[in-house]
């Protein structure tokens, strides 16, 4: 409803154009980030997943479009040189900045997806020894995780992302699957724009689960410190149509997802994850580390 009224404002289109005119000579601060083996990707696409044209559409053109739109919408304002992640966290709660949030979130999510791909055809990646027990504890096996993640992504109607996230505070299930529709973000600071469910299929007027002792269990969780990180994204798959339409066709979403599973860079997942050994041993000793970092 809010979005509709914004676009129906008489000055909405004009102000966008004015923005572009107001800073015609402004330096374009945002640029498309480069990936590992970017030259090979431009020439040959991602072997086994994307052809050259598909990669061009899904990354070069789309990321370029998002980044240029970010430039146009932010240049000349006080947020013109903020990186995408801080834009996500700052604009998540502000409906007037919804457009900027969407752009920043799509830029972040798309780059995260492409960074998590194994673009080297000579390497076949498998989960590391640190990661396998976490997967087994949360999903009982890697095959179950594969099945669940792919079927969840296939079942999502419409564009979005499916994330494998680590929740270090939950000891019984350290890894979780998270769906974000359209331009939702899995980051902790943007939780009100997580968009985890298709609201068209949810019953928002239902009172189920709101009464009784079990409904009060929520208070058992320890409070997250302001700015704290309780969700660490490890892996994601981009289910927007432009990512797979050219190579796989309109009915080819499932085959795209199956191909994608074989191209996951588990070393990158290992890097993204937080392990006990990486953590500082105690608050007192960790204090010195903060100053050096």
């Amino acid at each position: 409803m809010i979005i509709r009224s914004l676009t129906r404002r008489p000055g909405a289109i004009q102000s966008l154009a004015q923005n572009a005119c107001r800073a015609p000579y402004a330096r374009r601060l945002h640029g498309v980030p480069s990936l590992l083996n970017h030259d090979e990707l431009l020439k040959n696409g991602v072997p086994g997943l994307f052809s050259k044209k598909q990669f061009d559409i899904a990354y070069t053109q789309y990321q370029g479009h998002i980044v240029e739109s970010l430039n146009v919408s932010t240049s000349g304002s006080e947020i013109e040189n903020r990186d995408a992640k801080s834009l996500i966290v700052d604009c998540a709660r502000n409906p007037m900045m919804a457009y900027t949030f969407n752009l920043a979130s799509m830029a972040f999510n798309n780059h995260f997806f492409f960074r998590g791909l194994n673009t080297n055809p000579n390497i076949s990646s498998t989960p590391s020894a640190d990661l396998t027990p976490l997967i087994n504890r949360s999903f009982t096996s890697l095959e179950t995780l594969q099945e669940t993640m792919i079927l969840t992504a296939d079942a999502m109607f419409g564009p979005g992302f499916v994330w494998l996230v680590q929740t270090p505070d939950a000891k019984e299930q350290p890894l979780k699957l998270l769906t974000t529709y359209i331009a939702g973000s899995p980051l902790s600071g943007a939780h009100n724009r997580k968009q985890p469910a298709d609201l068209n299929t949810q019953n928002t007027t239902s009172y189920a689960g709101s009464f009784g002792a079990a409904s009060r269990q929520k208070d058992n969780k320890p409070k997250k410190a302001l700015g704290g990180v309780d969700v660490i994204p490890l892996l994601c798959v981009n289910t927007w149509e432009h990512v797979w339409l050219h190579d796989y066709g309109v009915a080819g979403k499932l085959s795209f997802l199956e191909n994608w599973w074989n191209k996951i860079d588990w070393a990158q997942v290992q890097q993204n994850a937080l392990f006990e050994s990486n953590k500082s041993p105690s608050a007192g000793q960790g204090f010195r580390q903060f100053h050096s970092s």
């Binding site: 330096r27 374009r28 601060l29 945002h30 640029g31 498309v32 980030p33 480069s34 980044v67 970010l70 040189n81 990186d83 995408a84 992640k85 920043a104 830029a107 972040f108 780059h111 995260f112 960074r115 087994n136 504890r137 949360s138 999903f139 009982t140 669940t148 019984e172 299930q173 979780k176 699957l177 189920a208 689960g209 002792a213 079990a214 009060r216 269990q217 208070d219 058992n220 969780k221 320890p222 409070k223 997250k224 410190a225 700015g227 704290g228 990180v229 660490i232 994204p233 890097q271 993204n272 937080l274 990486n278 953590k279 500082s280 608050a283 960790g286 204090f287 580390q289 903060f290 970092s293």
Partner: protein, 398 residues
């Protein structure tokens, strides 16, 4: 997703995670209530056995604990804040730069948090910091003619080659004075110059002043600054206690070098320095008098960015000099002539007498060094009072 409880006979539902799919058992025939309950109960047990078999044995299923629920969650917050911050920093390092590549650009805070060093001074940096902007041509001081490049839109443009050369020379002076243990005072009394001046003195281990200079602090120092605490330090800048009585008779300290960011407003300070043979460095605009200072730096004193660059460069030079001095002190060599007319206090003297037999030579040298350092080092402590007026505003130091 709500997981249907397997047993409908009023048993407590097994706590499940939402990602585990469970199949419901549907009965095709209608049974009596008792047989239905029994069947469900049997199914529950068999499923429970299956679940326990597949789940790892050491994992305990968490249950609702009323005692823990009533305990304040705030205790958990304070314990984990440091951990959360550490996690945030790690997460920032991993995913903070994702999304787009931000081209390098001017970030104002970096001039204070990470100022440029003399080696980083380029004409591009000075131009971007507006160091070339002079005043209207009618307001000039003709003595500055040699520093002026030309006129544009009715204002004089300072030659950036001259600025760079003079800035490098001034940096060398600050570095060398710091290396020899001299006291450097950074002065900047205009609005907004306080942070730059304090940061420069922090780097150079010197002193700063950003409020009004009290006239007579040098020429009439004995009157104005007599109440300030002084201390005696050794070559490694460690304080040596026990000199209080001797310090009371010593004269008040004076700076060995004064760096002034706005000479136009500090004529009295610069004049006092000249009367007492204290060299001065100053940022000279096109309307300022270059003869007021010993080492002029022709630049724009009205631009805070320019002042931050110049103060940063001189602070970095002082930091380099201090580093050299302290490195030499570690090896036992002192780069300056220590204070004279200072006698080691009784306590220290007894110690040296007691240890005289084995290492007499060494102790003698030590006492000489200590005595020599004192006079110069007294200045360092005494200059604290000059920044005492400003001490209200800035706490910091050390």
């Amino acid at each position: 997703m709500i997981i249907r409880s397997v047993a409908r006979a009023g048993r407590r539902a097994l706590v499940q995670t939402s990602s585990q799919p469970w199949r419901r058992f549907l009965a095709t025939q209608t049974d009596t209530i008792e047989t239905t309950a029994e069947n469900s109960f049997k199914q529950f047990h068999s499923l429970e056995a299956q679940f326990n078999a597949t789940a790892p044995p050491q994992e305990a299923v968490p249950s609702f604990d009323p005692a823990a629920a009533s305990a304040p969650a705030s205790a958990h917050v304070t314990d984990s804040v440091a951990e959360q911050y550490h996690r945030f920093k790690q997460s920032q390092a991993l995913i903070g730069k994702l999304g787009s590549y931000i081209t390098p650009h001017y970030q104002p805070h970096t001039l204070l948090s990470n100022p440029p060093s003399p080696a980083d001074v380029t004409l591009e940096l000075l131009l971007a910091s507006e160091a070339h902007q002079g005043h209207a041509t009618s307001l000039w001081n003709p003595a500055n003619a040699r520093y002026i490049h030309g006129i544009r839109q009715g204002v004089h443009i300072i030659s950036l080659e001259a600025t760079a050369a003079h800035l490098r020379r001034a940096a060398k002076v600050v570095q060398e004075v710091s290396r020899r243990g001299g006291l450097v005072l950074f002065v900047g009394t205009r609005d907004g110059q306080d942070r730059a001046v304090a940061r420069a003195s922090e780097l150079a281990k010197g002193y700063h002043l950003f409020e009004r200079w009290i006239p007579g602090s040098i020429t009439n120092g004995q009157q104005i600054l007599s109440k300030c605490r002084t201390k005696v330090v050794n070559g490694k800048d460690e304080e040596i206690p026990g000199f209080e009585e001797q310090l009371m008779e010593r004269p008040v300290l004076r700076p060995d070098l004064v760096v002034c960011m706005n000479p136009l407003e500090n004529y009295v300070l610069l004049h006092e320095c000249a009367l007492n043979n204290i060299p001065t460095i100053g940022v000279i605009d096109t309307n300022a008098d270059p003869t007021w200072v010993t080492y002029p730096i022709p630049a724009n004193d009205d631009s805070l960015r320019c002042i931050q660059v110049i103060a940063g460069v001189l602070g970095r030079a002082g930091e380099a000099g201090q580093k050299q001095r302290l490195e030499l002190a570690e090896t036992g060599r002192v780069t300056y002539r220590p204070a004279d007319n200072l006698v080691l206090p009784e306590a220290l003297q007894e110690k040296t007498v007691a240890a005289a037999e084995p290492g007499a030579e060494m102790d003698l040298d030590e006492s000489l060094e200590d005595a020599d350092e004192l006079a110069d080092k007294l200045d360092m402590a005494n200059n604290r009072e000059m920044s005492n007026h400003a001490a209200r505003a800035i706490k910091k130091i050390d």
